[in-house]
Amino acid sequence: MNKDQAEKYQERSLRQKYNLLHVLPTLNSRALSGLYYKNFHNSVKRYQIMLPEQLKSGKFCSHCGCVYVPNFNASLQLTTNTEQGDSDELGGESMEGPKKCIQVNCLNCEKSKLFEWKSEFVVPTFGQDVSPMINSTSSGKVSYAVKKPQKSKTSTGKERSKKRKLNSLTNLLSKRNQEKKMEKKKSSSLSLESFMKS
């Protein structure tokens, strides 16, 4: 497959897999979401694409892979760390005082996940914006690579063709004809002068 075609295929396949993840909540079968979720992440790893933080945590259930839709297959709560007791995700920080946690309960697989209350401001970068960046850079490289050899080769080719044309027999004959024409012109001018004098 060509380089451009490969990149287009990557973008298209990733987009389709991402779209399919959102179609799954409408289906009644819950077992498929994990399969599609794993498939999506496998392709992300294969193509070495950095997903934004929004997609990594908080949007999909890490156990069964379904999209969190509050009041449909997920429920949201704010809890403190002391209430939970056993919090594996925040194990290192549990020694400190009670902390705020966002608890998302997945109603499909009946497992809850705790998210730390991060107060860092992250500039939102969306999943779709990443791939056109890759395409633009690649297209720029391709165009840059194409231009250089064209210029050098075309100039040498032109020079060679000019030399060949000068050396050919037809050109020599045409030169002789031109010289003859010039002589005729001179004679004609002389005749005009002679007419003026007379």
Partner: protein, 195 residues
């Protein structure tokens, strides 16, 4: 080589920039998760003057003149339809301040869309959290649009804030009709010819 180069020159010369219409992606609209507020300073000014400045002076929550919720768990319970209310509701969120985490900000539009009542989700400008900290520590304010709330304020919000759009959630929100079979009897009609 010269032939191929000439053909390349011809191809490049013939190509020109053209824009074709392509269908947008209906499943993921991350760029439009938060509905647009057309006149942001007006809404922020109205909210400050009519709601927040009055709340600051009131000491305890029991004396609030309107039915409003500032705790996140209370907001979630209300939006899940636990109380059975169907009045329209306005939810003000400081989604551009660093104090509110991303995980919450992701789920709030979906939560508002899936709510049984109509929810107007209003995103507030940057540094609105400084004013909100005195009212609620989570940066959210759920206001039930009662008769007690100023009608001009509500109409301005209805006019300037767009609706929530999640086309991939339509199939989830509207449940299929539950059809059951009822056992009854029907008289048998005889098709005899009357002579």
């Amino acid at each position: 080589m010269s032939g191929s180069l000439k053909s390349l020159d011809k191809k490049i010369a013939k190509r020109r920039q053209v824009y074709k219409p392509v269908l947008d992606n209906p499943f993921t609209n991350e760029a439009h998760m938060w509905p647009r507020v057309h006149d942001q300073p007006l809404i922020w000014q109205l909210l400050q003057s009519s709601i927040i400045n009055k709340l600051i002076h009131i000491q305890s929550k029991e004396n609030y003149p309107w039915e409003l919720y500032t705790d996140f768990n209370e907001i979630v319970q209300y939006l899940s339809g636990a109380h059975g209310n169907s009045d329209p509701v306005c939810l003000f969120v400081c989604n551009k301040d660093p104090d509110v985490p991303l995980v919450l900000l992701q789920q709030i539009p979906l939560l508002c869309y899936m709510a049984p009542m109509t929810v107007k989700l209003v995103q507030l400008p940057k540094s609105a959290m400084d004013t909100f900290k005195s009212v609620s520590k989570y940066g959210m304010l759920l206001l039930r649009c009662d008769d007690r709330v100023d009608k001009k304020f509500v109409s301005q919000i209805q006019k300037n804030v767009d609706l929530l759009q999640f086309p991939w959630l339509n199939a989830i929100k509207y449940r299929p009709t539950s059809v059951k079979l009822l056992k009854t009897t029907v008289p048998i009609v005889s098709k005899k010819r009357q002579k």
